[in-house]
């Protein structure tokens, strides 16, 4: 009990209030889903219940990792990267000759997160965009496989960047020193995740309420201009008003983040939709009941995480 009390005592109150708020929202969702199930027996709410239960599990895992500190958060996101990359490489076209490259791609995960753990930012920055970028085509050339060479290389590059490098930034945020931050490093990660997921939900809700004009019917037939703009404004407002509680950004930096992050989330979402459409699947797997695969859940995050990090580093953080 003493240890638990100490874990909480060390946390910044903004983070604890934030986590409590998210927990409250999900509890409310669970109550509504439960009430709907009981009151309206003619309809099947199984998927809604699964969806909310999965949210509870995901929020519990992430909260526990954030409260436990950077080692746990790094380990958690290394696992997320692995499951995401495995999903991606399993859906994308691969060939028997590529098995070695697939293994090498997995190997990039422990190496990438090792530099997060060692806190060597200068190497983390270039490890995948430069070294893995160059090693992948070289390895493939050594194997002597030239059939569909360029397309295969591009496929591996995409997987490495989105699933490992971009997601790794979530873990790297945890290495920001506390003195630069209003709610600790965990608060920084917390706000990224909340803003990204809030944007997804807000786009969906505005689209359901007002959606009429389709925005990109050939990729995501359910997405509308109304949903996109409504989500944009809502998330920008959230960032503008709640951002100062969790991030060191102010004025221009905060305004840029408020404008850019919702668009990044939308872009990540539709990019993954385009990939799924190309491959011919609706969900990337059934790992998360009610949600689909892990890539369906983190598609926006693969775009928002590196941009959030970059804007923080550019406008505020001395360390990076």
């Amino acid at each position: 009990m003493d240890i638990i009390a100490r874990v909480f005592a060390d946390q910044h109150p903004h983070l604890l209030w934030g986590l409590a708020g998210v927990g409250g929202l999900v509890a409310l969702g669970a109550v509504v889903a439960g009430a709907l199930t009981v009151l309206r027996r003619d309809k099947d709410y199984t998927e809604l219940r699964q969806r909310i239960f999965s949210w509870v599990v995901m929020i519990a895992l992430i909260s526990a990792a954030l409260l436990a500190g950077w080692p746990a958060t790094t380990a958690l996101f290394a696992v997320v990267s692995f499951i995401a990359l495995r999903e991606f490489l399993s859906l994308a076209p691969t060939r028997r000759e590529d098995r070695l490259i697939v293994l090498a791609a997995y190997l990039a995960i422990p190496v990438n997160y090792a530099f997060v753990a060692l806190d060597i930012y200068g190497i983390y920055l270039v490890l995948i965009p430069v070294y893995a970028f160059l090693i992948t085509p070289w390895l493939m050339a050594i194997i002597g496989q030239t059939r569909g060479y360029l397309a295969s290389v591009a496929m591996f590059h995409w997987g490495l960047m989105t699933c490992i490098y971009n997601i790794g930034y979530v873990a790297y945020l945890m290495r920001t020193p506390d003195y630069e931050l209003p709610a600790g490093a965990a608060g920084l990660v917390f706000f990224l995740l909340v803003a990204t997921e809030f944007n997804d939900v807000a786009q969906y809700v505005w689209g359901k309420l007002l959606g009429r004009r389709k925005i990109i019917p050939r990729v995501s037939p359910n997405k509308t201009w109304e949903g996109f703009i409504g989500g944009w404004i809502s998330t920008a407002a959230l960032i503008w008003f709640a951002g100062p509680l969790f991030t060191p950004l102010e004025d221009t930096g905060l305004a840029v983040l408020a404008l850019v992050l919702p668009v990044a989330g939308f872009a990540g979402d539709v990019t993954m939709s385009a990939i799924k459409r190309d491959i011919g699947v609706k969900d990337t797997s059934h790992l998360i009941p009610g949600h689909g695969g892990i890539l369906d859940r983190i598609d926006s995050l693969t775009f928002t995480a590196p941009i959030y990090f970059h804007l923080l580093a550019w406008f505020a953080l001395e360390t990076f």
């Binding site: 495995r86 399993s90 060939r95 697939v102 699947v281």
Partner: protein, 214 residues
Amino acid sequence: MIRWLRWLLLLIVVRPIARFLTGADVTGREHLPLKGPAIIAANHNSHVDTLLMLSIFPSKAVMRVRPAAASDYFLKDPVVGWFSRNLVGIVPVARDRVASGEDVLAPAREALAAGDIIVVFPEGTRGDASDEMSRLKSGVARLAEAFPEAPVTPVWIQGAGRVLPKGEVIPVPMNCAVLIGEPLHWNGRRSEFMDGLRDALLTLKDQAPPLRWS
């Protein structure tokens, strides 16, 4: 004692390894039999198929699950043989003695009589990881005939041949979809039964995510 060792091994070693290597993306879990006698009929492209079949059952039923495996392959070497028999829990099928007229299904029938869940791969051997299904051998129909009360559950495993293709030694993690269909029952005619099983497997295959593998 060794039974408990097997149970522990299946739950704390085999199951995590199978999850790590394949993601074990199971649909239709509610169709799995939880007690024997019961027969699982799956397609076969890799040793990973056996690993998966041993890892998708709930812990209560896993003790009962026994994969049928070729004795000419798995029982040749004494060490592998001990391991296969006691820890994997295989039911030996002497493929090489079919011609001699010996009753090669006797061990499988004994296991069914004892209330086990037998996993059979009716293709008889591993395929080449393309998602073609080869001709089904009718041993499964003879088992169903001997135990008409045992449900025969069709299972399509998509992608195990990519994790560990025939002839490769190093497994590479890739997601596998495991699609479990509604159980079939013995209907009195071998050829009709086999046609039904083939159709059921191909229907499951159609529901599987596309396999981009060449």
